[in-house]
């Protein structure tokens, strides 16, 4: 009974939903909601990236480029042309998906580090463009972004809303909104993984030759997952922009791309729940270390290094394997 429950494909999703529901009980000021919301935004982004890196085994060192494109599309269109935020972010995601499709075809032929290099270059070009075209993007100092209004409601973390007779704060509303987005993102990712498409993607990682000889059009699938992960990034970039109220080209920068990949690898490549932990850890760690001031950078590097050395498969997979081994041993001891 318990076994069948834990093995159900959506058990992870259920667990995640429970965690998202419970977290607010431990949060006691709007700043903590702020951080929790950011965690959810980054988590959804890397759930998408994980499809590319963790499942299809294709590295991207420029994914923040897509995140930034989504963010800036929303920022520019809603602030300068008064577009409505929700249709804008959807259109933005479609456009970014198209860009990813066009860029993906040539560069996804590359393998390993060369693909890393090409995606890095792509990300840099996006970053440089955002930085240089100040007339549109505000340049390196960034630009303000209007709040997210849904059906005429302006969702601000400083407002309070009444919803079905309950008073909820704007911070909480943002948290719930992004919680729903993460659940949705995980559900779609999980559907994709548990399907022939997902199998084809994983086979590209496992053995590209094997995949191709049984008829998998590997370039097509690589490009597909590239586009899907770019759309995740773009949507989250747009929401991030509205949430933060201000963006700079750094959100499309190389360091941000590296952080995204690190979230995936740290949490556990190919583990959807794992990368969410990775996102949470990397988002909260700087806040936790902030009080160490001068030692912050050193400690951050050390934690990153040690975690990867001792948990090379990532936080969650390594922990899972550890628990499984323990359980196994217990069972053996009993026998």
């Amino acid at each position: 009974m318990l076994k069948s429950l834990t093995q159900h494909r959506l058990s992870g999703l259920a667990l995640l939903a429970i965690i998202i529901l419970l977290v607010p009980a431990f949060l006691n000021n709007p700043f903590q909601y702020d951080m929790a919301t950011l965690v959810l935004i980054y988590a959804t982004t890397v759930v998408g990236l994980n499809l590319l890196v963790g499942y299809a085994g294709q590295i991207s060192l420029g994914h923040a480029g897509f995140f930034g494109m989504g963010a800036y599309f929303s920022a520019v269109m809603t602030s300068r042309f008064d577009w409505s935020p929700v249709p804008t972010l959807i259109l933005g995601a479609a456009l970014v998906g198209l860009v990813a499709y066009i860029v993906g075809r040539p560069i996804l032929r590359l393998k390993g580090y060369y693909l890393g290099m090409a995606t890095l270059a792509m990300g840099f070009i996006i970053y440089i463009t955002l930085n240089n075209e100040g007339w549109l993007t505000g340049g390196p100092d960034g630009m303000p972004v209007p709040g997210l209004s849904i059906f005429g409601w302006e969702l601000s973390t400083f407002n309070t809303y009444s919803f079905l007779g309950m008073e909820i704060s704007g911070s909480l509303a943002w948290y719930w909104l992004m919680g729903v987005m993460l659940i949705l993102g995980v559900w779609i990712a999980q559907n994709l993984i548990d399907s022939p498409i997902g199998r084809a993607l994983r086979s590209v990682h496992g053995s590209e030759v094997a995949a191709s000889v049984v008829g998998v059009d590997t370039p097509k699938f690589k490009n597909l997952v590239f586009v899907v992960s770019a759309i995740y990034a773009s949507l989250m970039g747009s929401l991030y922009a509205h949430f933060q109220g201000f963006i700079t080209p750094e959100s499309a920068g190389f360091m941000e791309s590296i952080i995204f990949v690190t979230m995936v690898v740290l949490g556990g490549m190919g583990s959807t729940l794992g990368v969410i932990f990775g996102a949470a850890l990397l988002t909260l760690l700087p806040q936790l270390l902030a009080d160490f001031h001068d030692y912050e950078m050193m400690m951050f590097g050390l934690i990153l290094m040690l975690t990867m050395i001792f948990m090379p498969k990532g936080l969650l997979p390594t922990t899972q394997a550890f628990i499984r081994k323990k359980l196994h041993k217990k069972a053996e001891d009993k026998a």
Partner: protein, 384 residues
């Protein structure tokens, strides 16, 4: 191993409890919040700023605090990253519940925090330069450095006095350089100065010879103006000297520190820049109202930190002093009262200049707060 991990986890949790979960406490001390770029590409701004804040918060507390209450400095390092700045601003206003914020080393960091700070209705004194921070005026946002627009005006005023009408502009592609370039273009047009070459360099570039060659080869250019900060202007200065460009050379206030002179060496000889009098306390006339205050700051800073002062630390000094003055004037830390007090500060003598705030001017400095300095014999000389 697992035990060790657990213990480490416990430590982390403890930090978490201490750090994030330390909600509002009895508001006995006056909380001064700050986020600065202490590390990262703008660390040459944030580092002296933080040192100044620490030093003077200690000093004020030793002398009995403000309104009889001690000051408490709550500081975070945004690493020059705007979204970090925004998150720390959120932490300052929402978790730490600070009474006033003095910080924001760069324009990007400042502007990223502004929407949130405005909504939270917390008085905020920025230490960054670009004109967009206070123009248009935002009710809760003030700043202490002169705007880059003032710098451009002051430089071009000096050029006009020397009869220069055609210049070459070189600027960094970072926030400071970009904004400065824009202001320079506008001011130049207004003052009838032509920009014949307009080249840029990225803040991480290690050689600007190619860009400067373009300027050198344009014979009509009478002077060169560089708008940038960090180490790059020192590289520009060296490349400028190597190329033997024998024309007047101006830098912006972004390099107004002695460490610039150390980096640029003899190549800096003869260049001019607009700066606060902080670099030349001795040259100030005895009746100059800023003389004593500048001298005191310079002496205190150099004695405490064993390094030479920069203009940037001075911004933080002015920010803190303005905050203190406003709180004393308001007689409480009531935010609206403090805001109004800030807005009405008149004749406040700082190290950067004399501040005359108004509801329409949240910077309060005039162009003459910039002095033109020239590098002579490896030191700064005040040009009257």
């Amino acid at each position: 191993m697992s035990k060790k991990l657990l213990r480490r986890g416990g430590l982390l949790a403890a930090t978490l409890a201490a750090g994030i979960f330390s909600g509002a406490q009895a508001a006995d001390p006056i909380k001064i919040g700050s986020f600065l770029s202490v590390t990262g590409p703008a660390s040459f701004l944030g580092d002296p700023e933080l040192k100044t804040l620490r030093m003077y918060v200690d000093k004020i507390n030793e002398e009995g605090g403000v309104l009889g209450r001690p000051l408490e400095l709550v500081h975070y390092d945004d690493e020059g990253n705007a979204s970090n700045a925004r998150n720390y601003a959120s932490r300052l206003v929402r978790a730490d519940r600070v009474d006033i914020i003095v910080g924001g080393s760069t324009t990007g960091a400042t502007m990223a925090a502004v929407p949130l700070i405005e909504q939270s209705r917390t008085p905020f004194i920025s230490l960054a330069g670009a004109v967009v921070i206070t123009d248009p005026v935002k009710p809760w946002v003030f700043k202490t450095p002169q705007s880059d627009r003032l710098a451009a005006e002051r430089v071009m005023q000096d050029m006009q006095e020397r009869g220069i009408t055609k210049i070459g502009l070189i600027s960094g592609t970072g926030g400071f350089g970009r904004s400065g370039r824009e202001q320079t273009q506008q001011v130049a047009e207004a003052m009838g100065i032509q920009i014949l070459e307009d080249v840029t360099y990225s803040p991480s570039d290690t050689d600007m010879t190619a860009q400067l060659t373009r300027i050198r080869n344009n014979q009509d250019i009478e002077a060169v103006f560089n708008f940038g900060f960090g180490q790059s202007p020192a590289i520009v200065t060296r490349n400028f000297a190597q190329l033997g460009i024998d024309r007047p050379f101006y830098q912006s206030h972004g390099v107004a520190s002695n460490s610039f002179l150390d980096l640029a060496g003899s190549a800096a000889e003869g260049l001019r820049l607009p700066a606060s009098p902080i670099l030349v306390p001795d040259s100030l006339a005895d009746d100059d109202p800023q003389k004593t205050i500048v001298q005191a700051y310079v002496d205190a800073y150099e004695a405490r930190w064993n390094e030479s002062v920069s203009t940037f630390g001075g911004y933080a000094y002015d920010g803190l002093m303005l905050a203190v003055a406003a709180i004393e004037e308001a007689g409480s830390t009531d935010r609206e009262a403090v805001r109004q007090a800030l807005e009405n500060i008149q004749g406040h003598v700082g190290v950067t200049g004399i501040f005359n705030m108004s509801p329409n001017d949240h910077n309060g400095l005039a162009a003459d707060s910039f002095r033109i300095l020239e590098v002579v014999d490896g030191g700064w000389k005040l040009i009257e």
